[in-house]
Structure formats: structure tokens, C-alpha cells
């Protein structure tokens, strides 16, 4: 956190609300394009419902494919939010401030997308209610709580509800700002949401204490969600390479890796799209990249462990699977690409401060990471199924149909669309956190050097 440009609160308001109170030129065009793609995707989804899952490239025994991969991928992305806003809030990292809101929104929308994928994936979507709702009268039976697939909706639902409420609490002061800046219907809307916030000490104290409390509560949920998703795979004994105890932390750390990278991508886009150069500054990318380097290395360690202990058993089917996964075309190409994009290219780049503070490079490297992480999920899920059990007669290949590829593309459009719509109604960067850091930060002279300082209250 080096010398930062000191800005007044009016300036903060005017700049950070420029996406909400006025519309950027590119906004309508982008939204309409995305809307088109999204609608096409929804149409295709109904086509699939009508004709059945034959339209996908799935087969026997590759019963799970691109849909589940993408589901896991989006759940992974969703781990950005709490990672950033909770952990950094608890460790009082100053540079979190402009990042938090964006990360939380990313969490919420990617979770919404992730929740859609089991629906798309299921054979009889119109009966999915049997599974998602705890009770349903037509069938007179409750869901099987022993099934990891039932734990998934519970965990993801918890995470979604929790982070939405978290977001709302952190939004209230900014809603008050908007209430003071708008007129007419919108004012009414914000007035209701702001619930008559005035900003007296009691309310601010609740903001701070409540933020810490909610972070502490969200953290265990955040860890549990991806663990439970990973247990979908880990508990099945029939599939080689799935029945591994390391999956839970392995998935979580991988999720943090991809999620934080997604936040980097998003911040770069925000800086470019809304010209928030005074608030989203190179040093934020620097800090995120340093965090990512640590996370990525830990993740690589887990990958290594997973591989070692897969071979440790020395049983033939497992070794056959790994042999295919790593050495056989086309899997070997995917595996190479996964290693390169997931770690080998981006992380050494991040070792240089010149790269860390270069927004364009950070943007591209973070995108690279997410390609790698998507491939990781794909390489965990599909080869295991394709080389399932010692029955070599039933080994199958899997090539996704264009249908599945489009749904994958659709999910990205969907998330971006939701983001843009959100940005029209609520500020993407928390205003009051910015102002707070303005108030609390200062600089003292130690000898000749002018060192920036921050004022920290005594928490009780």
C-alpha cells in the first residue's frame, strides 16, 4: 500500500457511481448481445428437455461429462468471494477494500449458475423438485439424506443465502448514498432498501462488528461447500481415481486458485470498463498476484499428493487410468495444457513485480489460470469414467457435442449479463470501505522516511 492519491468523498461518490447513475456507452450494446446468447441457450435447454440427453456426447460408462465439469468449475469460481472478503477482512488486509464487493457478487452469480447445471444435467429436469425440495407430497417420500447429491443443494443453498445476506448488509451504507443521490422511483426503491440508514456510531459499529462476525461464520461454510461437492466423487468406489481422501482440501484450494484469478479478471475489466483507475490500482493486482502465487503453489502440492497416492496403491486399473490421463493422446495434450496454463506459465510470471503491476498481463494470466482449472476438473471427472473398472470391454471415449459446448459458453454469458445488470442498480465497489480507508490511513515520519500508516481500533 504505497503512497495513494488522497481523494474527497464527493469524488469517490461521483466516480464509483458512474456505472449506476449514468450508463457507459458500451453497456446497452453488450447487454443486448449477451441477452441474445442467453436466450438462445435457454431455447437449446428446452430442446434437450424435449428430445432427451441423447443430444449430448455422453455414453456408457461416461455418464457425467461437460455439464458436471462446468458445475464444479462454477462452484470453484464462487469461492473467490468469501476468500477475499472474509479472510482478508479477518486479517485486516488493507488492499481488500475495492475488491470485496466484486468478489461477493461473483460468488453469488457463479453459485446461481452452478445451481442451474445439475438441472440441465439431470435426465428428467421437470421432476428435479423431488430432489431439491426436502418434502414433496405427490411422491410421499423424503429425499435420501445419505446421498452426496442431496448434500450439494443444501451446502450450496446455505452458501448462496449466506453470501447474499452478507452482501446486503455490506450494501446498506452505499444504498443510503444512492438514496441521497437519486430521485423519483429509484429513490423510493433505495429508500426502502436502505431502511432509513443515517450513519450514527451504533450503525457503523454494527457494520464493522457484523462484518467480522459474518466473515467468521461464512468461512467454515466456504470450506465445506466445495468439500461436499468433492465428496460426490470421492465416495464412489467404482471409478478409478475418484476414491481419494485428499479430494476435499484439494478441490477447495483449487477453487480458491480459480476464484481469485476470476476476481483479478473481473477487476481488470472493471478498471477498463468504468475507468476506476483511482480506486482499482496496480498495487491491488500486485497483492492479489502475491496471494495467488502462494495459493497456486499449495494447490500444486496437493495435485502432486493426489497423483502420488493414486499410484501408491499399485493396482493395475488405477495405473492404466493414469497412463491414459497423462500419456495417451488426446488426454496428454489436455494434461500438458492444464499444467502449463494452471501453473507453469502464470506463476513464474507473477514472481516479477513488473508483471504483477501490469493490468493487461494480469488479466491474461488470470484467464489462463481458469482455463487450466477447468481442464483440471475435466481431467479428474472424465478419464476416470472412461476407464472405469477392470472390465476393459466397457471402456469408452467421450467427446462433448456442440450442444454441451454451447451450454458452457452460455454459462459465461449468463454470469456476465447478471453482473452488468447488477452494476446498473448497485455500486460494484464498496463506497464506504473506500472512504473508511481514506479516514483511517495516515503517514508518519520514521527518521526521514514518510511511512504510510493505518489506524486500527482495539476490537473487544
Amino acid at each position: 500500500m504505497q503512497q495513494r492519491k488522497s481523494v474527497t468523498q464527493e469524488y469517490t461518490n461521483s466516480v464509483l457511481l458512474n456505472g449506476t447513475l449514468e450508463t457507459p456507452k458500451w453497456w446497452p450494446y453488450l447487454v443486448s448481445i449477451l441477452l441474445f446468447f442467453v436466450l438462445v441457450g435457454i431455447g437449446l435447454f428446452f430442446v434437450q428437455i424435449y428430445f432427451g440427453l441423447g443430444v449430448t456426447g455422453l455414453s456408457r460408462p461416461v455418464y457425467w461429462g461437460l455439464y458436471i465439469t462446468t458445475f464444479v468449475f462454477w462452484v470453484g469460481i464462487s469461492h473467490a468471494g468469501i476468500m477475499i472478503s472474509a479472510i482478508l477482512r479477518l486479517t485486516q488486509a488493507e488492499w481488500r477494500r475495492p475488491v470485496t464487493r466484486a468478489a461477493e457478487i461473483l460468488t453469488i452469480f457463479s453459485l446461481l449458475t452452478a445451481l442451474v447445471f445439475p438441472l440441465i444435467h439431470a435426465g428428467r429436469t421437470w421432476r428435479i423438485i423431488y430432489w431439491l425440495l426436502p418434502y414433496d407430497f405427490s411422491r410421499g417420500i423424503w429425499p435420501n439424506i445419505r446421498s452426496p447429491l442431496f448434500m450439494d443443494p443444501i451446502a450450496i443453498g446455505t452458501y448462496l443465502t449466506g453470501s447474499t445476506l452478507f452482501l446486503f448488509i455490506a450494501l446498506i451504507p452505499d444504498l443510503a448514498v444512492l438514496r441521497d443521490r437519486t430521485t423519483g422511483l429509484r429513490k423510493g426503491f433505495y429508500t426502502i432498501l436502505a431502511m432509513g440508514w443515517r450513519g450514527n456510531p451504533r450503525q457503523w459499529k454494527m457494520q464493522v462488528v457484523g462484518g467480522i462476525l459474518l466473515s467468521a461464520l461464512m468461512l467454515p461454510i466456504f470450506v465445506s461447500v466445495h468439500s461436499i461437492v468433492s465428496w460426490d466423487f470421492a465416495v464412489t468406489i467404482g471409478v478409478e481415481g475418484w476414491h481419494s481422501t485428499i479430494f476435499a482440501p484439494y478441490f477447495v484450494i483449487g477453487a480458491v486458485h480459480s476464484g481469485v484469478s476470476a476476481v483479478v479478471t473481473m477487476m481488470a475489466l472493471m478498471r477498463w470498463g468504468w475507468k476506476w483507475n483511482d480506486f482499482i490500482r496496480p498495487e491491488h493486482f500486485d497483492a492479489l498476484a502475491r496471494l495467488l502465487t502462494v495459493v497456486a503453489t499449495a494447490w500444486l502440492g496437493f495435485t502432486f499428493l493426489e497423483l502420488i497416492f493414486a499410484l501408491y496403491g499399485l493396482d493395475a486399473p488405477e495405473i492404466a487410468l493414469r497412463e491414459m490421463q497423462i500419456f495417451q493422446y488426446p488426454w496428454n495434450m489436455l494434461f500438458l495444457l492444464f499444467l502449463l496454463t494452471g501453473y507453469i506459465i502464470p506463476v513464474p510470471m507473477w514472481l516479477f513485480k513488473r508483471v504483477r503491476t501490469n493490468i493487461a498481463l494480469m488479466f491474461w494470466s488470470s484467464i489462463m489460470v481458469n482455463i487450466g482449472m477447468w481442464l483440471e476438473r475435466f481431467l479428474i471427472i472424465v478419464p476416470g469414467l472412461a476407464r472405469k473398472t477392470p472390465f476393459v470391454f466397457t471402456w469408452e471415449a467421450y467427446s462433448p457435442s456442440w450442444f454441451e459446448w454451447y451450454i458452457l459458453f452460455w454459462s459465461f454469458c449468463w454470469v456476465t449479463l447478471l453482473m452488468l445488470l447488477f452494476s446498473k442498480v448497485f455500486p460494484l465497489v464498496p463506497l464506504f470501505e473506500q472512504k473508511e480507508s481514506e479516514v483511517f490511513s495516515d503517514s508518519v515520519k520514521i527518521g526521514r522516511a514518510n511511512v504510510p500508516t493505518i489506524f486500527r481500533e482495539e476490537e473487544e
Partner: protein, 167 residues
């Protein structure tokens, strides 16, 4: 009948002085309050630090969530004793996961309720307020009887407030 007066300040220190002035001129702590557009360190204006019972809410929520989920998971399995995969009818270790999630969920929900309640929101009839507060102005608001009106006004004038509004 009582009125509420709002004094707007640009400089935090003069706002703090105003608070002192009000104290000296014999208004009791509860009657006046400081409004800011950004969190200030606790007690920066010499206002009395608000007490709260926030941490009771999540505890309460956790208890409720735990017992509810315990009931739900047990009941579902006992109501439909279908054997799956030779697992026990009461598969505790599967139940634990769901109980954990539901406990956390209701803890979060209750602490959010707690935050809203403890910050006295929703505030149906907000007294004197000014949009400029969210632009960095600092508002000192006090509700007084008519007789003390001028006394309070004087304090604001003395400590150099930008504007004094009487509602």
C-alpha cells in the same frame, strides 16, 4: 413538544467540539448523536460507545438450526426406513454434514437479523438528516425541547457549523 436540530460540519474536530459543547451546556448523552458518511474510530467524537448484544444472535440461531436439522434428518430416515447400500438406517456421519450446514445457515440468518436489529433498522421515522452527510459532512443531531432550542443553536454557531437545520 420537542424539535430535532441538525448541525452540519466539514471538519470532524469542530464536530467533536460541538459534541463537547452540548455536553457542557447540560444536554444528556442520549439526546444527541453524530451522523457520518463513513465509519470513524469508536468514540472519535467523544460520543459514548454503544453497547450491543450481537453475539447472542448467532448462538441462538445455531442452537435452533442444530435442533431443527437433527429432527429433520432423523425423522426422514426413520419415517422411510429404506436400506440403501447396507448403510445403517440412521447414518450419523451423513446426517452430520447436513446438520452442520443447516446449523451454520440459521446462525448466519440470525446474526443478520441481529445486525439489523442492533443497528436499530429499519428506522421508520428518521429525524433530521441531510444528503450532504454522505458526501463527507459530519452531522450532529440533537432533539431538544423548545426552550432549549436557542441554547443548542448557540453551541452549533460557536463551534463553527456550516449550517443548522431545525426540523
Amino acid at each position: 413538544m420537542s424539535k430535532s436540530i441538525l448541525g452540519l460540519f466539514l471538519d470532524p474536530n469542530s464536530a467533536a467540539d460541538a459534541m463537547d459543547g452540548l455536553k457542557e451546556s447540560g444536554f444528556e448523552q442520549g439526546s444527541f448523536d453524530v451522523l457520518t458518511g463513513t465509519p470513524y474510530p469508536e468514540g472519535a467524537f467523544g460520543e459514548h460507545v454503544p453497547q450491543h448484544r450481537l453475539f447472542r444472535f448467532p448462538a441462538f440461531g445455531a442452537i435452533i438450526g442444530f435442533s431443527a436439522s437433527l429432527f429433520l434428518t432423523t425423522a426422514t430416515q426413520l419415517a422411510y426406513p429404506l436400506i440403501t447400500g447396507g448403510k445403517p438406517i440412521l447414518s450419523i456421519f451423513a446426517m452430520l454434514i447436513i446438520m452442520y450446514e443447516m446449523t451454520m445457515l440459521s446462525a448466519v440468518i440470525f446474526s443478520v437479523i441481529g445486525i439489523i436489529f442492533e443497528s436499530r433498522l429499519p428506522n421508520i421515522n428518521p429525524s433530521a438528516y441531510d444528503p450532504r452527510i454522505t458526501e463527507g459532512y459530519i452531522g450532529v443531531v440533537i432533539s431538544v425541547e423548545d426552550k432549549d432550542l436557542n441554547k443548542a443553536k448557540a453551541v452549533f454557531e460557536k463551534t463553527g457549523s456550516e449550517e443548522v437545520k431545525v426540523v
